[in-house]
């Protein structure tokens, strides 16, 4: 056959390379497939990918200082904060000009707010001065150094000028440093004083509690999944409805129910006191702490653990256990050596699901966590909706995302993502 002996690419009947012919033949099919998923793709792009990208960008974006105080930033470029000296008159003049312009369009409060994140107290200096500077004549009223310091002695502080200079770049690492309890000091990044540290503790607490929740879900879910997989279909369906029932109830309702159950005057404590197991004066603290969050979240996330485990267990032929027993294994050995290893993919899938959900959980910890049982996401929510420090919220979110991806990678290395089965 000449086809076999010829060198070079295999040709189709019309003489074109076979690869190109194949690609052409499949192109139409691929295009049609793409068209089918285009609405979803577009939806995800607009409502998910773009917002996420925008938020991630906010964690490093810092154009506001440059945009609001362009002249000041330019003049300060030549100033060395390490000298300990206040900048020259030119800087004060530039600032006065910038501030007047900003105050006219009321953007000076925004830059004040931004710089206040890095150096608390700065906001009031800007606000108070802005009102006065609005009436100044920049061309004739100089020099401004004494005038500004007289207006607000904050302007005589080298630290203020250093803050402006440090955070004048288009991009900043400030939010990320802040998110790991550090800041940009005079000599580069430095750890914040102990009383200002909070985010690392929160991140570690979030990880630790998520692990505990995941583990509790495994311990509680495994037997349920096993029963589900081994009951006759009719009873299994009934049990499955019970497992899925929480999905059909509002998350808020379920969480509030836990409040009623767990609080010190709640059902559980009342019962224990009534039985006499617990003294009325020493009622158990079951809520508004870590324990409350763990109990409520284990309950809420349990179905996410049971379902993947169940679907894996369902595919395990009962003849494996029989084979193990016929080969001489006791019930326990048969379970541990033969059945359990085959369910590991289900445990893995459930654990990833539960852990990732837990790490980002927000409503339940906010409601039952008190101060000791809140998660990093509660802080993110605080920064996004209350403090307005979107940059810091975004940085915290980005770190959370990175940690989850890293764990996912580690998991892939150890267990192998191919081993994860959701059904």
């Amino acid at each position: 056959m000449s086809d076999i002996t010829q060198s070079g690419p295999v040709l189709a009947a019309d003489g074109r390379p076979l690869k190109r012919s194949l690609a052409r033949a499949l192109r139409m099919q691929k295009l049609r497939a793409l068209l089918l998923i285009a609405p979803l793709l577009l939806f995800i792009l607009v409502t998910f990918i773009l917002p996420v990208a925008d938020m991630l960008f906010r964690s490093v974006e810092n154009r506001i200082v440059q945009d609001t105080l362009p002249r000041t930033v330019e003049v300060l470029a030549d100033w060395d904060p390490a000298s300990g000296q206040l900048p020259e008159e030119a800087a004060f003049a530039a600032l006065a000009a910038d501030l007047k312009e900003a105050a006219n369009v009321k953007t000076h409060t925004k830059v004040a707010k931004r710089l206040n994140y890095e150096n608390p107290g700065l906001s009031s200096v800007f606000r108070k001065s802005g009102r006065k500077v609005k009436n100044w004549d920049i061309a004739n009223d100089g020099p401004f150094r004494e005038k500004l310091i007289e207006l607000n002695d904050g302007w005589g502080d080298v630290e203020l000028w250093r803050t402006i200079k440090t955070y004048s770049g288009t991009f900043t690492s400030g939010y990320f440093l802040n998110a790991v309890d550090m800041r940009l000091g005079a000599e580069g990044p430095e750890v914040r004083p102990e009383n200002e540290r909070i985010y690392n503790t929160m991140l570690i607490r979030t990880m630790r509690m998520s692990l505990i929740i995941t583990f509790s879900c495994i311990m509680l879910g495994y037997p349920v999944a096993w029963i589900l997989a081994n009951l006759p279909t009719r009873q299994a369906n009934l049990l499955m409805i019970l497992v899925l029932l929480p999905f059909w109830t509002s998350l808020l309702v379920r969480t509030s129910a836990w409040k009623i159950l767990l609080q010190q005057q709640g059902v559980i404590n009342d019962t224990l006191v009534w039985i006499g197991l617990v003294d009325d004066a020493n009622r158990l603290v079951l809520i508004n702490n870590e324990l409350g969050t763990i109990i409520a979240m284990t309950h809420i996330l349990l179905p996410f653990m049971i379902l993947p485990m169940y679907s894996v267990m369902q595919t395990i032929n009962p003849s494996y256990l029989r084979a193990a027993k016929s080969l001489g294994a006791t019930d326990w050995t048969a379970f541990w050596r033969v059945y359990f290893p085959q369910t590991v993919p289900g445990i893995g899938a459930g654990s990833i699901l539960v852990f990732i959900l837990a790490v980002g959980y927000y409503i339940t910890p906010a409601l039952v966590g008190g101060t000791k049982g809140t998660f990093i996401s509660n802080l993110i929510a605080y920064h996004i909706s209350t403090s307005g420090n979107w940059g810091l919220g975004a940085a915290l979110g980005a770190i959370l995302l990175a940690v989850v991806l890293a764990l996912y990678w580690v998991y892939d290395k150890i267990v192998g993502i191919d081993n994860v089965k959701l059904g």
Partner: protein
Amino acid sequence: MADASNVDAFVEFERVQKSYDGENLVVKDLNLTMPKGEFLTMLGPSGSGKTTCLMMLAGFETATHGDIRLGGTSINNIPPHKRGIGMVFQNYALFPHMTIAENLSFPLEVRKMGKSEREAKVKRALDMVEMGAFGGRRPSQLSGGQQQRVALARALVFEPELVLMDEPLGALDKQLREKMQFEITHLAHSLGITVVYVTHDQTEALTMSDRVAVFDDGRIQQIAPPDQLYESPDNSFVAQFIGENNTLEGTVKEINNGIALVQLDDGELIDCKPVNVSRPGERTRVSIRPERVEYNKERLQEGVHTLKAEVLEFIYMGDIFRTRLRVAGNDEFIIKTRNAPDQVRLQPGQQIEIGWLPEDCRALDA
């Protein structure tokens, strides 16, 4: 026939009954005795109770009533892992997360055997089924036939005296199945193990077994060596189930000297061997094997009753010819003839006369 003396009985079922729902008996009054070293096949349609019997013997099902004994001791209350019975499952049940060697090593590990001894035994067992080179592979990397061999080796590696096989060749293609049939019987005989083999494939049962127990409706219909089972079925179920079979219905006219004269429903008379009939006037179903029917007048005995037949269809099957006839109103009467040079090829529409030896024609229950 079942051995009545319990002296060399190795496996015994005594009046065993099994019900799953408390309303219907899946196994009804089962009695069975097997000597050591026998290859016994339980054959029957699905739902006939054969697998249930095997599971009771293995210990995965408990008998509702009756006694199951192994080597003289009752095993009703012994859990499966203490019975020491090897078992080959229908889907092989090789543990997917272990390599082949680990699969074989498993029964030895749970018996707390030392490592070097384990390795030697695993190697020997794998070599025995010609799978020595595959110890490091996973079951999913093997073909169906190879998995089958490994399953067999795993059931034998801990040297059980009794091995149960639950339709082990069901998933293999025809050629491989025939090869494995031979290998399994060969292995069983050379190792001297006792085998209980469950299948619904009658060819498999006939070619492999020392004895075959035909199950239907929760009872053993007949237990006999293959040739006896084929040539002298005890009842019409066995006759129908084992091999191809022609049936004609009629009434017994008289029984003389071990020969029954049967009047078929269209009035014709034939000679039969009475099996389940004892007196004139009884309804009977006459059974005759397709290859025992003769239409060459020269080969028929003098004075034998013959029947008129019309050829409906001639099928060339290579080694044999299969001819469909209309006999006594039955359109599905089949005869098989060997493809020999002097063999006549019957033409559709041809009128012939057929006959047979009276002992080949068995008058069974109606």
